[in-house]
Symmetry: C2
Subunit: 382 residues, 2 copies
């Protein structure tokens, strides 16, 4: 059977493949980017679903761009986040679909795209499928090395898109500093590229103050948001805001892609986000619980893996560990045997494998389990 160039260009997600291994009940998985199911508001979702289902429109096809009530409340939210009016959003089937549709809307095969090194694997897959030429730019404790990006631009690189997980990076755990956000926006204006600000974790800022978006500083930013980390992945509700012509192109392509996102799960999301008092309290609960897990993780690393370098979590779901002298790909089978799963850093590599690094998701388990996971990891590593 002849398969398309796109199919042959996409590297399967090592992480999704790993999930099967780490799903064994005796393994504590720090591998998946799974928000904690027990922190998701199942009772409130059931209540909102029952209420939505009293209306026949909840089971019907809906507008491709999304349920008007949800679009309105999300646009108001984004306006608050960006400190300037965000007139409209398009709702997507998770923010992964937003990313895919933005790539399909803006990229032709051979176009240049800047990605972070290491990168969110789902973004690499999207750009591989689009046939883009990837140009990695490294990260440090302040996020993307915007100075390195600027050097590439001065040297003649003219990317169509620059993709960044600016807040609480997956997999590196770092956040783009405020001055770098301003600079990145300036570069977008000067060199004519579009920034894709992929922001599923921003609302999980442990101090309760999400970073000011890159989109606050330029019109050349497409911002992607998601309900998956703050309500539930099973709603499959994501959204994007940005230049009107990008939104129009995404809406057109969404017609061919899945016609519309579920009217039912959109009604649930609208109900929950519009109930501001409830939503703020819920968010605070998720944030505080996740912060406690992050503290448990870093404390356990300091105690049991004293030689490790560990990113400092200030939000989101991930820590990036470096175990000097350890090959983490070789470590993984031993770790699984010891009852703990993680993702080797090289799974996120664009051009530069990180053989001694690994990504751990601390968000999926309560503190005691997180601590036990790190103990097991330490046993396997020594």
């Amino acid at each position: 059977m002849h398969l398309s160039t796109a199919t042959r260009s996409v590297r399967g997600s090592a992480i999704r493949d790993l999930l099967a291994l780490t799903a064994r009940p005796e393994v504590i998985s720090l591998a998946g980017g799974l928000p904690a199911a027990e922190l998701m508001p199942r009772a409130r979702i059931a209540e909102a679903a029952a209420k939505a289902l009293t209306d026949p429109r909840s089971v019907q096809y809906g507008e491709t761009a999304g349920l008007p009530a949800l679009r309105a409340v999300l646009a108001a939210h984004e306006t608050g986040r960006c400190g300037r009016e965000v007139a409209d959003v398009v709702v997507t089937t998770g923010s992964q679909q937003a990313l895919d549709l933005v790539a399909r809307a803006l990229l032709d095969a051979g176009d240049d795209v800047v990605v972070e090194e290491p990168a969110y694997v789902g973004a690499l897959q999207v750009f591989q499928a689009a046939g883009a030429r990837l140009h990695p730019v490294g990260l440090d404790a302040d996020g993307m090395r915007v100075d390195d990006l600027e050097r590439h631009l001065r040297d003649g690189l003219r990317p169509r898109l620059v993709h960044t997980v600016a807040s609480f990076h997956n997999p590196r755990g770092v956040t783009l500093s405020a001055p770098r956000r301003v600079r990145l926006a300036e570069l977008a204006e000067r060199y004519g590229f579009v920034v894709v600000e992929d922001d599923p974790y921003g609302l999980l800022a442990f101090d309760g103050a999400p970073p000011v978006p890159v989109a606050a500083h330029s019109d050349r930013v497409v911002r992607l948001g998601s309900a998956s980390k703050v309500l539930a992945p099973a709603l499959r509700v994501g959204w994007l805001s940005g230049p009107p012509e990008v939104l129009a192109a995404v809406e057109l392509l969404k017609q061919c892609t899945d016609l519309c996102t579920s009217s039912l799960t959109q009604a649930v999301a609208a109900e929950l986000v519009a109930d501001a008092a409830w939503f703020d309290a819920h968010l605070a609960g998720v944030r505080d619980a996740t912060a406690a897990r992050a503290r448990a993780f870093t404390a356990a690393v300091a105690e049991h893996l004293p030689g490790a370098r560990c990113s400092v979590p200030t939000g989101g779901m991930f820590c990036w560990l470096d175990l000097p002298g350890v090959d983490t790909t070789a470590l993984l089978p031993r770790a699984l045997e010891a009852g703990v799963g993680f993702v080797p850093g090289s799974a996120f590599a664009v051009a530069e494998p990180a053989p001694s690094s690994l990504r751990c998701c601390y968000a999926s388990h309560p503190e005691g389990v997180v601590d036990e996971a790190v103990r097991r990891l330490a046993r396997a590593a020594t």
Copy 2:
């Protein structure tokens, strides 16, 4: 802003644009392909959702290929339909996503694809986005003119895919005859193409006996199914079966597209389809109600539009009317003024506009409303 070739290749759906016009409360819309919301089992969906939400897995990410329980029950269903073992299905976010992913998995820009004339607009959009070269083959009362297809093949056409809505065609209302199904399968084997058997309406056979699928006769068929017309569009549950390498490619591309379909709506669909006694009774109810609406439609056409030619509905949701001497695109604004909406036949054209034809969906309204809609159409047309 530079937009991609794909974006510039897709023609917006005239039908989706029409929905705004026909949504005015004084207009009876026969335009949308909307199943009747009042026939959808809202109470049963609410019950199944409440039950699913007692399990934390219902709100979490799930496997890309779909919820195992749903895949199993759908594979068993397909096995029954095809009369031979269908080992596996991949669940998609509606069957529109299945179509899009099959195209992305198998097509490169410039590949030849055979479509029906007139065609399902969502399929045309998918193939336009893929950059395919479209080759239309006409339909008659027995569905696709497979003899015409064969002539093209003998003349040297080597399509990668042949797309067909073989049962209760959208928009033409006709069904591919049993001998033509066998012949189409033989041609797929001989000439090495893949048949995409797009089958959202098969279970709505008014006599309760869905046509034997094309996939019963060859391994070179990808079959697409949908819960939208038999349960509810808002579940966004579709599926595909076919050659294992196609399913594997689709699963890989689905990782980049939306990671997974909603665990919650999949659990609801699994619960409802697995309850065979309930599902059969529910299906019979939808089928009978839809058949009554179809009879009301054709009776009203015979009475009020005596000059019209009308397809004979035996299942599904659509009638295709021809009003000799009438330009249906010019008729539409007058019809909307008279309080009825439809889709002009030319909206479905690939190469051959059908200026005096129109598509009517009889499934969305009770018999009395359908009758009134045809009266209004007759008033506008004369």
